[in-house]
């Protein structure tokens, strides 16, 4: 394709725009609501000093001023303070406390997905297992999370914040995340069909006749699609993490976002949504990079040996 660079460029552009767009959108939506968050703490009819509070939170100069101030602080990793979840605690501290738990959760959840992807690449398991995989794919995350929560509560209620209780909680949550909502079965079936289709291409047959392995030929061509699939799985895991962390009671970033939403803590919601957007951006940028490298690899001229040039002559 002549304009192969359009798609990766579009992805890269989106990757840059996303962390700016998401907080802008949320700011605009916050301003569309009646009242302001300062009134939660200081209802005007029973409390004075609310104006000063609104000024401290930069809510008194309109959405652009708020957004501008928030973005310039965020670039210096200052996401402001929590307004309601843990009033006064810097949001960056809350994030520092919760993000590692979410990363551990996602990391462990990626294990079954990666195993599934590798199995699918090797055309395993055979199609007679498809009904089991389809059954797994329709298990909703909330049902599996309930099961995980039940196991943890039965055995570690009241002591699940550290030690063995913590790790059991994390493993149960990670397994839930890695299996539910089609995560595992999607990685197996998706990769299997992708490699199956690619293996049927003529160039693969020719490469096998030349004595090469089909992986060394198909993998570079599928790199972009594989990274794209992985990216969408990770984004799906990030979404599912919100539900799993709340139900299984993991002190993670998704649970923080949920609490911020319930308590209308816009400081936390804004920061959390932006961090999610940044994570997504990073993955998108990585995908764009892989696509560029893949296309460059596909378009490079093959190295000719001395014998082959002599034959041509």
């Amino acid at each position: 394709m002549k304009y192969w660079w359009i798609q990766p460029s579009a992805r890269a552009l989106v990757a840059v725009a996303l962390p700016l767009l998401v907080p802008a959108l949320i700011t605009a939506l916050i301003w569309s609501l009646p009242g302001n968050p300062a009134e939660i703490i200081c209802p005007p009819s029973i409390c004075t000093g609310g104006e000063e509070l609104a000024a401290r939170w930069h809510l008194d100069q309109g959405p652009w001023a708020f957004y501008g101030h928030w973005m310039s602080s965020a670039l210096q990793l200052d996401f402001g303070d929590s307004w309601r979840v843990l009033t006064g605690r810097p949001v960056i501290e809350l994030m520092a406390q919760t993000i590692p738990n979410t990363l551990i959760l996602i990391g462990f959840a990626l294990i079954p997905i990666t195993v599934g992807s590798v199995l699918g690449a090797f055309q395993q398991p055979s199609k007679r297992w498809d009904s089991v995989l389809v059954f797994l794919s329709v298990l909703p995350v909330v049902v599996l999370a309930l099961l995980a929560a039940a196991i943890v509560e039965l055995n570690f209620a009241g002591s699940g914040d550290d030690g063995l209780g913590y790790w059991v909680r994390m493993m149960a949550a990670a397994l839930t995340l890695g299996i539910a909502d089609g995560a595992l079965s999607g990685s197996i079936l998706g990769n299997r069909s992708m490699f199956e289709q690619e293996n049927q291409q003529r160039y693969v047959g020719i490469s096998i006749l030349r004595g090469e392995s089909n992986f060394s030929n198909t993998l570079p061509n599928l790199a972009g699609a594989l990274v794209g699939q992985y990216r969408s799985r990770i984004v799906q895991l990030l979404s599912g993490a919100v539900i799993v962390e709340v139900i299984v009671r993991v002190d993670g970033f998704g649970a923080l976002l949920w609490r911020g939403t319930l308590m209308q803590d816009f400081g936390v919601v804004l920061a959390a949504a932006t961090v999610f957007a940044c994570l997504s951006s990073g993955l998108l940028f990585f995908q764009a990079l892989v696509e560029v490298l893949q296309n460059l690899h596909q378009r490079r001229a093959p190295k000719l040996t001395l014998e082959s040039t002599e034959v041509v002559r």
């Binding site: 359009i6 049902v143 990030l238 599912g240």
Partner: protein
């Protein structure tokens, strides 16, 4: 009657059951009656009762009322977006295609639950229902449907396919609607739409469960209605503590299974021959 007809019949039956449940839902749950608590389906027809003696059929019907129409609409929307994406690949509009791709990348990159929570947070209380969230969910799923339908259209040949059919004397409507959409895009569109319908139902259960756990008003329905999440919450007590509410969990799972069956049957019925 071949397999396709069987799947269509199954999907129709499941969906009609959902609609019938939704239509028969009471406006308010009935009064508590603890003398009838935790009765099994064979003890209290048709689905038994919960820990407060309330018939589970009320939960089933009210939950269906919450889910049925919004999830169906989400499915239709996703299928529609997919159809537009597929048709776009068959016309020579590169600017529009680039714009759609750009917007699709942005939308596709957003973690869906985060967006849904932000929208749920910002919805005024009087607007709280599953419908706005289902529409947002459909928009978030649209890029996937557009990409897949676009890939199918591209494999057909895109504009060349259209030109070839025009040369055969077919009109534009027949080419686009019948040959492209019905004959070729149908499996993708129906499958994507069915998946969206299923995931909206799961989304509703998840959001309602999270709200029930916090004893808060749900984001997806008014408080006079019960969700299937209430069944799962009670069923969880059987899992965790052995309390006599196992049948409640199975009723909840069964209802979710009804939605899954509808979506799966629809997808199978629309598969390419």
């Amino acid at each position: 009657m071949n397999r396709r007809h069987l799947y269509i019949a199954l999907a129709g039956f499941c969906f009609v059951t959902l609609l019938a449940l939704a239509w028969s839902a009471p406006d308010l749950p009935s009064t508590i009656d603890r003398s009838q608590r935790s009765l099994k389906p064979w003890e209290y027809w048709p689905l038994g009762t919960d820990m407060n003696g309330r018939p589970l059929i009320e939960y089933a019907s009210q939950g269906a009322r919450v889910i049925a129409i919004p999830s169906f609409l989400a499915g239709i929307l996703v299928a529609f977006f997919g159809m537009m994406g597929g048709l776009l690949r068959c016309v020579e509009w590169p600017t529009i295609q680039t714009m759609v791709q750009f917007i699709g990348e942005i939308v596709g990159a957003l973690p869906r639950m985060v967006v849904i929570l932000v929208v749920a947070l910002l919805l005024p209380t009087e607007w709280r229902s599953l419908m706005p969230l289902a529409v947002v969910w459909a928009i978030l799923c649209a890029p996937g449907a557009i990409d897949e339908a676009g890939a199918v259209a591209a494999r057909l040949g895109g504009t060349r396919f259209v030109e070839a059919l025009k040369a055969h004397g077919f009109g534009a409507w027949r080419i686009y609607m019948h040959h492209i959409v019905v004959l070729n895009l149908r499996p993708v569109l129906v499958r994507q739409g069915a998946e969206a319908m299923m995931t909206v139902a799961f989304l509703e259960v998840a959001l309602s469960y999270l709200a029930v756990v916090e004893d808060q008003s749900s984001f997806t329905h008014s408080d006079n209605l019960r969700s299937w999440a209430d069944l799962l919450k009670e069923g969880y007590l059987w899992l965790a503590l052995g309390i006599d509410s196992g049948h409640v969990l199975f009723v909840g799972l069964g209802l979710l299974g009804l939605v899954v069956l509808t979506a799966t049957a629809l997808g199978k019925a629309a598969e390419a021959r």
